[in-house]
Symmetry: C2
Subunit: 417 residues, 2 copies
């Protein structure tokens, strides 16, 4: 597939994240427009509420775009999603007849402020990156016991906190929490000293499954609406003290950032790729009928306050051991009802090489090594004022499918009341 | 405090769960009424949507009762909650002047079907019963290592799944899942063979806290709207294989049942009691300014299909080591935003004695002992067709504050697609 041509000139560049091939979904406001659904095209946003109001898009009996979330569109299901994408492609293609009617509803991206693109009903975070799980396991349990015995059989996950999933650009307040040094008698309470990122992709569930009813991997893939970049902020000093026996809780609950744009499964279709060969056969319910990962290049940058960013890691979503479809199937396998708006974090994405690690704890190998930034500053974990940015794009022949950056700047912890 | 007299005669019995002292909140429908908010009084339900429509209750500018959830009332905050309770008490007291206007809006409970009383935004389950944690720990790790080292310092909890919290009476489908016998090479997938209950109380958060901002225990207590009975259904064979290192997931995700009535904090006020003496000092952020547990007698019954129930355990909510207010404070301590509609499970409530254990795995001591029912049937875990019922009431001088039973009957697992 090559770059599709649009009459929106800025969409025809090899460098834009948002060519006609992409058409990702977000929620934006401007000084004059209330928050509403929009579609990115080049350096513009198509105001979907206005398009609907003016009859240029007519997807459902009730309006679905004049709201600050894409959940109503999700509820239309895969046929509705395909109809919308076809209509948008027709309206924005180079030879589209309706340009004069559509053009007034394009808003410059530079004038827009982005909001959460969806209401996250529930958030689940997985642990499906084998290099990451091996790295973390080696640090905590030694190389022989790095991977837990269930890891090659189960896409391991835990329920996260939906109330603190925020859009890129939202400041992240350093969490407080209980920590205990191995040699201390008592724990203490205060700001985390080991604040970290986790570079992940988020899959957005677009249709619902019924309580009590498991789903196949093929059904799960059909249920996925799209993908975002996801930063699972983590307090590495809170987690070891709290996480036995019931898993991470406050070490993860304070914030999760996502990119402003939901890239649809349709846009990513040319980039499908397979999960790696299995070291142990998967149980039949988890076997994939086809390639369900995607080739998406990922990057992390770090910038001290007022200084230029340094790229500290590059990796690819194709490194995962389990796809989002497999994770969703496992999630529903007990009969757990899944809903439109559920967000599934992939787990930290690290590659096999040292500069492909998707978290600071891996990059600094548990504080043993220092990360030196281009500014000359050194880091093991994140300091107040630092800005962390995730970037991602699937790269085609002369075009890219981007997500928009996923950015967060750290603010000092708030003193306990 | 003694029994308050109402002109609704059935509310004046020492045996009713719903005297004027209680006034719990539920959602009901009948053959002629759509699901809506109702208040239990004796063997009747006061139709709050009708009361509001007829101007007998006027709580907010917009209607808040003609919906199938109490979340809108929660949003009014503690002042609104107090105003509502005062108004209801005035309207239903023995000497109330408005009886003739109110009486037409009473619906016999026997004609009503109960729905979920709230939209659960997120569900968190704790592990705050010391006897339970000690019993489980002894079975799995031996008596010396029964309590994890963090247990006396942290109200340990994990995020659960809100999509499968259901009202009493909803059938529970036996979950499928991965299990692995210790001597097996590979895991297998199929219906759980060790289905269990967990007897818990659920606290309902009624107001919201801001992301990044911790709250004190006093603030947390003010945020709690009310309490329900809660059965945290658990698959004991799925959990051991899946739960390391990130905690319980599918072993708990398939279902959680709650009682149909939310008993308000105001109704429980006379029954406040303190958490037990601390074995180790709590960190200051977790210390309670006053008694924040409640004296609520609890009971579990088990009935094979078509047979009479047997009481298999009796215990009391006052056995907990941490209160819901302490749990809520810890939950928000990292800066995790809490929302009206959040549900916090207390953790399994067991007493010190053998017949005070709130789960079958404790009652059967990990399958080593058989539970014999009055019908002559024996059980270690739950079989298809069995009905499990939680009962609870705070008992005053000649009156009781009940929750309505929390019932679930097990249906066979659904075959994987």
């Amino acid at each position: 597939m090559t770059l599709l041509q649009s009459w929106v000139e800025s969409a025809n560049s090899a460098d834009t994240d948002f060519p006609l091939n992409n058409l990702p979904y977000g929620v934006f406001e401007t000084n004059t427009l209330e928050p509403r659904c929009g579609v990115a095209i080049g350096d513009m946003i198509l105001d979907m509420a206005a398009m609907e109001e003016n009859g240029l898009i007519d997807l459902a009996e009730e309006p679905v775009f004049d709201v600050p979330y894409w959940n109503d569109v999700m509820e239309l299901g895969p046929e509705g999603w395909a109809a919308l994408r076809n209509r948008l492609t027709d309206l924005l293609a180079a030879d589209a007849p309706d340009q004069a009617q559509v053009a007034p509803h394009l808003v410059p991206m530079a004038e827009a402020r982005m909001h959460m693109p969806l209401v996250v009903t529930e958030f689940t975070d997985f642990y499906a990156g084998k290099h990451h799980a091996t790295n973390i396991g080696t640090m905590f349990r030694g190389a022989e016991n790095a991977l837990p015995p269930n890891w090659l059989h189960i896409p391991i996950g835990y329920n996260g906190r939906a109330s603190t999933v925020v859009v890129s650009g939202t400041p992240i307040v350093r969490p407080n929490g209980q920590t205990k040094a191995p040699d201390a008698d008592m724990p203490s309470f205060g700001p985390s000293k080991r604040l970290d990122i986790e570079l992940e992709m988020g899959a957005i569930v677009g249709t619902s499954s019924e309580m009590g009813h498991p789903i196949s991997v093929a059904q799960a893939d059909d249920m996925i609406f799209g993908y975002v970049l996801l930063n699972d902020w983590s307090a590495r000093d809170i987690q070891p003290w709290e996480y036995q026996p019931l898993g991470p809780f406050q070490a993860k609950a304070f914030a999760t950032s996502i990119s402003p744009w939901i890239v649809t499964k349709a846009a990513l279709e040319p980039f499908r790729t397979s999960t790696p060969e299995r070291e142990k056969d998967l149980l039949p319910y988890l076997r994939e009928p086809g390639p369900m990962l995607y080739d998406i290049e990922l990057e992390v940058t770090m910038a001290p306050e007022g200084k230029a960013p340094t790229t500290i890691a590059r990796t690819n979503y194709n490194q995962m051991y389990y796809s989002a479809a497999q994770q969703l199937t496992h999630h529903a396998s007990s009969g757990c009802a899944m809903n439109a708006g559920d967000l599934l974090g992939s787990g930290t994405i690290s590659g096999p090489e040292k500069d492909e690690r998707g978290s600071l704890i891996e990059l600094s190998w548990g504080c043993k090594e220092t990360i030196t930034l281009d500014s000359g500053d050194t880091r093991t974990f994140i300091e107040d004022g630092d800005t962390m940015t995730l970037k991602g794009a699937a790269k085609g022949d002369g075009f890219r499918i981007g997500f928009g950056d996923c950015v967060g700047t750290i603010k000092p912890a708030i003193k306990f009341p």
